[in-house]
Amino acid sequence: MSFLHILSEISSGFGITAIVTLLGLLYAIPFALVAGVLQHFSTGISRWIVTAIIEFWRSSSAIVLLYAFYYSLPAFGIYLSGIAVASLVLGLNIGGYGSQSVRAALQALDKGQCEAGLALGLSRSAVLGLIELPQAITVMMPTFINLAIQLIKGTSLVSLLTLTDMTFRAKEISQLSYNPVPIYSALLLAYLIVCYPVTVLGRRLEKSLGKGRAGGS
């Protein structure tokens, strides 16, 4: 098998990689925004509950969470497909990190912005949606891009649940071949092609905004 042939075989798993990434983002972004905003504004017991939920998703190891949910949910009578479990777990894990940058960005906003909005007669929710969040999102952009890369890379874990993503395809081909070198090189190259442009974009944005910090997986 030529290197190009191997690369095309591996890329046949890109569909699953893309689906889990997109579904994951679909869970991660709303979770990050809602949890971050709630954590910023709530007080007392409700703040404690929100923080506990965020900390659960943030403090757990993605790979352990994936196994724990995939194998334990059926024992509690909940049956979900591998793709559903993977995108939910990976999405909420990344969303947990994202919520912290939402909260930090809201905290870093100039207080006068909110006061000016209220003085103009806008409601509290209008101030949040029209003034605070748009500014916070600009600050958060580099972090969100870094987290999106974490998510794409994290989808390689679905290979362990025997979903045929790019990593699983590579393992499959390597069992037929006696030479693992081109196969795993092609696998790294495939992820590099997908993620490298986004990584560079994130770094540029980070530089131009001078802010943002990504959480490690």
Binding site: A68, I149, L187, Y196
Partner: protein
């Protein structure tokens, strides 16, 4: 299939056998990542010609999954006749992956030390190495303590990846129990709770260290 809490408690001691290795691997990987990350940053600053090459390597490390990197190291090295213990491959693999992130931490940490400090040391006649070790590094350490602390938790949470390359840590021992008993739900549930507990303890310890050093914790 029903969840059996009694069984979950019974297998706990067997799963805990991997705990020691998880902790050892975490510490060694973290040290390896910090040293490599510092090396990347020194190389990046060494020469304008080297800079873009090192930057590409760092971005490449950050653009590929740690799982794919570990598979590469684990399957490719033996093909060339290099057989290393899986523990060694695992520690170096995790260290390599996180060094890409830590190089950025060191970059920010060194950038935050006022330029005048280095210039003053040089004009006093200190060598390049002495300036780095005695003037820049002590001030840099204070800047990097908080983000490095956050990454130490990340490294701990990444150690179960090593189960896939046969390093006998917590997740591996959960797999052992599962394949012996044909029950996956309980071992995976137990290892999930264990890691949640471990990470919470690590977060608390790092937070305490940061308060003692008087630095503000970044979101990790």
């Amino acid at each position: 299939m029903n969840f059996d809490f009694g069984f979950a408690l019974k297998i706990l001691p067997r799963i805990l056998e991997g705990l020691g290795n998880t902790l050892v691997v975490s510490v060694l990987s973290f040290v390896c990542a910090a040293m490599l990350g510092f090396l990347w940053e020194m190389l990046r600053r060494s020469h304008p010609f080297v800079r873009p090459i090192v930057q590409f390597v760092i971005d490449a490390i950050r653009s590929t999954p740690v799982l794919a990197q570990l598979y590469f190291a684990f399957y490719v090295l033996p093909y060339y006749g290099i057989t290393l213990p899986s523990m060694f491959v695992g520690v170096f693999g995790l260290g390599f992956y996180y060094s890409g992130y830590m190089s950025e931490v060191f970059k920010a940490g060194i950038d935050a030390v006022p330029r005048g400090q280095g210039e003053a040391a040089e004009s006093l006649g200190l060598s390049w190495l002495d300036t780095l070790v005695f003037v820049i590094a002590p001030q840099m350490l204070r800047n990097v303590a908080a983000p490095l602390g956050a990454y130490s938790v990340s490294v701990l949470k990444a150690t179960p990846y090593l189960a896939v390359i046969a390093v006998p840590e917590l997740l591996s021992s959960a797999f052992d129990v599962a394949s012996d008993t044909y029950r996956y739900a309980e071992p995976m549930f137990v290892v999930g709770i264990l890691f949640l507990g471990l990470a919470s303890v690590a977060v608390a310890l790092v937070g305490r260290l940061e308060r003692r050093l008087g630095v503000v914790a970044p979101p990790h």
